[in-house]
């Protein structure tokens, strides 16, 4: 069996290979298939070893997960992505908005959730700007407005959007972070300017052209909430939807998404993009293909490896059941 230093050797060798190889490195579909088959064969070997009574350690699991997460970044695979009903509902709600509609984008997440939520943010921003939706950005998490700035800066570099000459304060505005969690949403129900007297550039609310006539949720056509916890989608539904009747669609992390499904089936929540798969589906629906469509391949591989290890774990359980019987016989 492998010793501890073997893992270090493999890790260092992998890093050296990655540094030395030319970039951007994308292997051909044939090589990609070969790598996948080799990974599968290695898992079969682990299964056979387990059935023979050689239990594997957690480092072997870590190694397989590391490899299955990393290698797909260099593979030339495309898998068909089917849009789920909840993402389709979200897209339909956004697609129905006529040009000039005012959309509130609430960024309630921080960098650890960015791999799942930032692609959704970028796809949403690109779609909104291309379809002349007016975007009002805010955050109930301190890092949210920064994540929004990153998404805006990225999509503004797209030639089609750059050609529109979008102006800050006229086509989009960033109101920044406000402390107070769900009470911020509650106060916004009566007065936006009460909670956000100035934007992130310290400009008075009244001096921002986009916000002329925006007093409360009655003047907002749709809320798109990107959330990874508290405060987030649950609070937006409980206050903005329930009390003020505004339409809210959400992008959530995979961990949080299951907890908002009750709001989805009761039509309180207008669509949901959950986790990396939701992000990839949302990118496909909006035709703004970005990072999620690349990351989803890594997630597919890692899910397959985890499933393989669940099977191996159960094989180990079977072996452990069989052993006492053999002793008894």
């Amino acid at each position: 069996m492998m010793k501890k230093y073997h893992y270090w050797i493999i890790l260092v060798a992998l890093i050296i290979v990655l540094i030395l190889l030319p970039k951007p490195l994308i292997v051909s579909p044939t090589v990609s298939t070969t790598i996948t088959v080799l990974l599968g064969l290695a898992l079969v070997v682990v299964l056979v070893l387990t059935l023979r009574g050689h239990m594997i350690g957690r480092r072997t699991v870590f190694l397989f997960i590391g490899v299955s997460l990393t290698l797909p970044f260099f593979m030339n695979f495309r898998m068909p992505i089917k849009i789920s009903p909840e993402v389709q509902t979200l897209y339909d709600a956004i697609a129905k908005l006529p040009p000039g509609s005012k959309v509130l984008a609430a960024f309630d997440y921080d960098p650890p959730s960015a791999p799942e939520l930032q692609p959704q943010a970028e796809a949403f921003m690109a779609y909104a700007f291309k379809h002349d939706l007016k975007v009002i950005i805010m955050g109930l998490w301190p890092q949210g407005p920064q994540q929004a700035n990153m998404a805006v800066a990225k999509v503004l570099r797209q030639p089609e959007i750059r050609a529109k000459n979008l102006r800050y304060g006229v086509d989009y505005v960033n109101l920044g972070f406000q402390s107070g969690n769900e009470f911020v949403i509650q106060r916004m129900g009566t007065s936006f300017s009460g909670m956000f007297p100035r934007d992130i550039y310290n400009t008075d609310y009244a001096a921002i052209p986009l916000l002329n006539g925006v007093e409360n949720f009655s003047n907002i056509d749709f809320v798109f909430n990107l959330s990874s916890g508290y405060p987030g989608t649950v609070e937006w539904v409980q206050i903005a939807v329930d009390r003020y009747g505004v339409k809210v669609g959400a992008g959530n992390t995979a961990v949080q998404a299951p907890s908002v499904y009750p709001y989805l089936s009761s039509h309180k929540l207008t669509g949901l993009a959950g986790g990396m798969s939701g992000a990839a589906e949302f990118e496909k629906a909006t035709k703004e293909i970005g990072k999620a469509n690349t990351y989803i391949l890594s997630q597919s591989f890692s899910h397959m490896v985890v499933i393989a290890f669940i099977i191996i774990g159960n094989a180990a359980l079977m072996v452990s059941y069989r052993k006492p019987k053999q002793k008894g016989a």
């Binding site: 870590f62 997960i65 898998m79 089917k82 960098p111 700035n149 406000q178 997630q299 899910h303 774990g313």
Partner: protein, 223 residues
Amino acid sequence: MKREIPLIITFVAGVAFVLQYFIPHYPFSRFENIFSDWFAIVGAFAIWLGALSLIKLCLLNISKKSHDWPISLLIIVCFLSIVIAGAIDGFQGMNNTPATSFRDPGTNFDWLYQNVYTPLSSTMFAILAFFVASASYRAFRARNTAATLLLFSAFFVMIGRVPVGDYLSAWLPERMQLSHWANWLMAFPNTAGQRAVMIGIALGTVSTSLRIILGIERSHLEG
């Protein structure tokens, strides 16, 4: 009076909150705005309090040379670096025409955020993937009926929520494909379970809130 005054404040604030929710008209509607403003102000002070408390704790660790004191030093250095970078960028931005924010691309704060904070916090979160995989290997074992049900649910959700599920089951009719099974599990058993949890939490919150408002529960006054 040390106990009575906080209890009276709790009672008045609690009742006012309940009234403003169910009677959204003047003068109760005014309560909502006043309390929301107060909450935002208290929340903002809490951020300061948390930051100062962290600094105090770290300084104590350093002065006593307690276990892992260099980490406390590192925390203070990192904290001050990002605060100073943000403050300098913020003050410079106010003098620029048009005004710029410390969060704008190209600022020192943005550089620290994108190149230090984001990779470090993402790494911490990404490590979860390895632990989840290891835990799945050990935990998802068909030891009894409940564990077997959990195992099969995990299998269908994990494979059905990624494109590889449909890729492998493309030969089946649409309603039999793995994504359909995963969607069904999320939309029905998961929603039913979540609803039960939500209703339980709501009932617990109502009863605990009533106990606090009426002064029966007083643990928040201790310590």
